[in-house]
């Protein structure tokens, strides 16, 4: 039996022996074990299945260049123009999948439906097969059964027009398939283009210059391949293999996809600026992880436009220098000061580029008092009549507030009263009282 999850999962496949003992698809693992005690339960590993299926499709590429992936477990191969007869084709396909040690059925048919139906047929004919192979809705199957239609042959014998009029538009396809006609197009899977370059030498690199030289060579090779494919790299993965067996990977994204070796090299150098290896480097591999269509934004009269390549390099350098991604802020409504803004990663967004075209030129800035946030710290405040009169023994000259902030009632309730105060030394600051304590939040500057 095959279950989707180890403990609280459900059975998704049963073999005939387990079915005989009473286990059914849809049972919980507990129910299935109770029904068929001695049967072994395997857990379905979706990621591994997908990887294996991908490998199988790759293996089938050796049989035909056109492989239609119809989901895990079913693939169609276009064998037109390929030498040999049906039996030879089947033998080749089975041979290609031999290494996977999985039960495989391969048949030859004129179209996708017939080929699929023939995998269930023992005598090479689809006529005697039950109508369930059409994968109809249970209700439609039931209606056909009531009419005495149980096999494809019986369905094919019905007159097309009256059958379609009675069962609706979809019935035309059922009837066609029952007669061995399937217009479903063949969709060959796209071959994933991979661009990478590797350097492995007999010796090892101990100097930074040696590694950079190898990097430059690899970047040139990769960029040549990119140029040939008409693509640009959106992200590059660099894999270092060290003498002591360590393997370290570095992913570097580009703000704008590039095929320029210099830019790739600059970004990678920036990424590696703070990196040290514990042993000499013996192997180096550069792999393009995200291929994008080539072409850069061309802007006329954009003198003030930032060079995206330079910006990408700067972002990578900043990330390497500070260990955090450079960001841009955005504002949002919130009761507390701290909640009124948030950060997200800084990228060269299209929006940013496009807005330059309709730029505005504020002749005079809107002067607005600017609050500078300070590290929140407790302060000594003397109050009189609910208003602060001194802060750290400095007289309060003017005061505005309090403004009650009541936030986080659903999680961590925060109730505080905020004030703007002007102190005798000229400090203009935002303070607040939370419970019995007073805190300094920021200073206007």
């Amino acid at each position: 039996m095959l279950a989707d999850k180890p403990d609280r999962g459900r059975i998704i496949e049963v073999d005939p022996a387990a079915h005989e003992l009473g286990a059914r698809i849809g049972h919980t693992v507990l129910q299935a074990r109770a029904a068929a005690g001695g049967v072994h339960v395997l857990v379905h590993d979706a990621a591994r299945s997908s990887a294996v299926w991908s490998d199988m499709l790759d293996a089938l590429d050796s049989v035909s260049p056109l492989v239609d992936d119809s989901g895990e477990g079913t693939a169609y191969l276009d064998m037109r123009g390929i030498g040999g007869d049906a039996s030879q084709w089947i033998a080749r396909a089975l041979q290609a999948l031999q290494g996977f040690d999985l039960p495989v059925r391969a048949v030859v048919g004129p179209n996708k439906f017939v080929a699929r139906a023939l995998t269930y047929a023992s005598d090479g004919r689809i006529d005697p097969l039950p109508i369930e192979v059409l994968e109809l809705e249970p209700r439609a199957v039931e209606r056909l059964h009531l009419l005495g239609v149980r096999t494809l042959e019986e369905l094919a014998r019905l007159p097309h027009g009256p059958f379609v009029r009675r069962f609706g538009k979809a019935a035309a396809a059922w009837h066609d398939r029952a007669r061995g006609v399937d217009p479903t197009p063949f969709r060959p899977r796209a071959h994933e283009l991979q661009i990478d370059a590797a350097a492995y030498g007999e010796g090892s690199a101990e100097q930074e210059e040696q590694v950079l030289f190898a990097l430059r060579v690899l970047a040139d090779r990769v960029c040549n391949d990119l140029a040939r494919a008409g693509k640009a790299a959106g992200m590059v993965r660099l894999t270092f293999e060290c003498d002591n067996g360590d393997v370290r990977e570095f992913d570097s994204g580009f703000a704008q996809a590039t095929g320029d070796a210099r830019t790739i090299l600059d970004v990678l150098r920036a990424k590696l600026e703070s990196v040290t290896f514990s042993s000499p480097v013996t192997g180096l591999r550069m792999q393009v992880m995200r291929l994008e269509e080539c072409g850069a934004l061309a802007t006329l009269f954009g003198q003030n436009q930032a060079d995206p390549q330079a910006l990408a390099v700067a972002l990578a350098r900043l990330e390497a220098a500070t260990g955090s991604t450079p960001h841009r802020a955005h504002t949002r409504p919130a009761p507390r000061l701290e909640g009124r803004f948030a950060y997200d990663a800084f990228t060269v967004a299209q929006r940013c580029q496009a807005e330059v075209a309709q730029r505005c030129h504020p002749e005079v800035s809107k002067g607005v008092p600017q609050l500078r946030l300070l590290t929140v710290r407790e302060i000594d405040v003397t109050i009189r009549g609910n208003a602060p009169v001194s802060v750290h023994e400095k007289r309060v000259i003017d005061c505005a507030g309090p403004w009650r902030v009541d936030d986080g009632w659903f999680d961590t309730p925060t109730v505080r009263d905020e004030y703007d105060v002007l102190l005798e030394d000229g400090m203009l600051c935002r303070i607040y009282r939370q419970g019995k304590h007073w805190y300094l939040r920021g200073a206007y500057d």
């Binding site: 436009q305 930032a306 703007d420 400090m427």
Partner: protein, 257 residues
């Protein structure tokens, strides 16, 4: 006679133009100057902050430095990109209200002096930003020299904000502006209905390599949402006018922002 009349008319037009210019209604901004966003300060600076230089905005915690910086950032982000090396004090909602386009402002967090200098170095080297701002940190003269050179090469203005400039920084800065809030403006009487509307500050040009230093601009920083400057008055008699770190404030009244 008609020729003479034409000459007189042309002369009168020219004179009127010069008078208007002299009256400060038009600020001639040279292409090398970067407008601060405040006409008064631009006049005091002889057109604005020179591009490709290092400029300091000095003053105590509540002196109006950030308001001037916000004006420059608003100007920069209206045309391109700007960058801020943040030591944790940036409050983006107020920057946005001052006209800064946050989506074009790169904010990079850095804490130690070395990190701050390194970030400024990277930002200047990219040549992607019209304005880069960083907090004043104790750095060696060689670092300031390098940053100054990079700013010159990239045509970027590097603003350094701090209480006062160290000897090294003061040497390499092309422009030094000292700020001090003169009067604080409130929108009403004390209490819940009162709000901070803004302040008037004096920006004194301590140093200018391309123009005469010593001018002072008086700037009105007033939040328009709360009220107009004309309708606002300081509530208390005590003016918190001060000169940070004991530096003398220069001549006043030369220009109004």
């Amino acid at each position: 006679m008609s020729v003479m009349a034409d000459d007189r008319a042309a002369f009168a037009a020219l004179k009127a133009g010069l008078d208007v210019r002299a009256a400060g209604l038009i600020v001639a901004v040279s292409p090398q100057a970067f407008s601060s966003g405040f006409a008064g300060l631009d006049r005091a600076l002889g057109g604005g902050f020179p591009r490709g230089t290092l400029a300091t905005l000095e003053g105590a915690a509540s002196s109006g430095r950030t308001a001037i910086l916000a004006g420059a950032l608003a100007q920069a982000t209206s045309r391109g990109l700007a960058a801020l090396v943040d030591d944790g004090s940036v409050y983006p909602p107020d920057l946005e209200r001052a006209g800064v386009q946050l989506e074009r402002t790169l904010i990079v967090a850095a804490q130690t002096p070395l990190e701050i200098a390194r970030c400024a170095d990277i930002l200047l080297r990219s040549r992607a930003f019209a304005v880069v701002a960083m907090p004043a940190t104790p750095l060696r003269a060689t670092v300031w020299s390098r940053l100054c050179g990079l700013a010159q090469k990239s045509g970027t203005i590097l603003f350094v904000l701090g209480l006062h400039a160290s000897t090294e920084l003061a040497y390499f800065a092309s422009t030094r502006v000292r700020c001090a809030i003169d009067r604080v403006l409130w929108s009403g009487k004390s209490g819940v209905l009162c709000e901070l509307a803004g302040y008037e500050l004096n920006a004194h040009v301590l140093k200018h390599r391309r123009a005469a230093p010593g001018a002072t601009a008086r700037l009105h920083i007033v939040d328009e949402r709360i009220g107009h400057a004309a309708a606002l008055r300081p509530r208390s008699d005590v003016s918190p006018m001060r000169s940070a770190a004991g530096h003398p404030v220069g001549r006043t009244g030369s220009a109004c922002g």
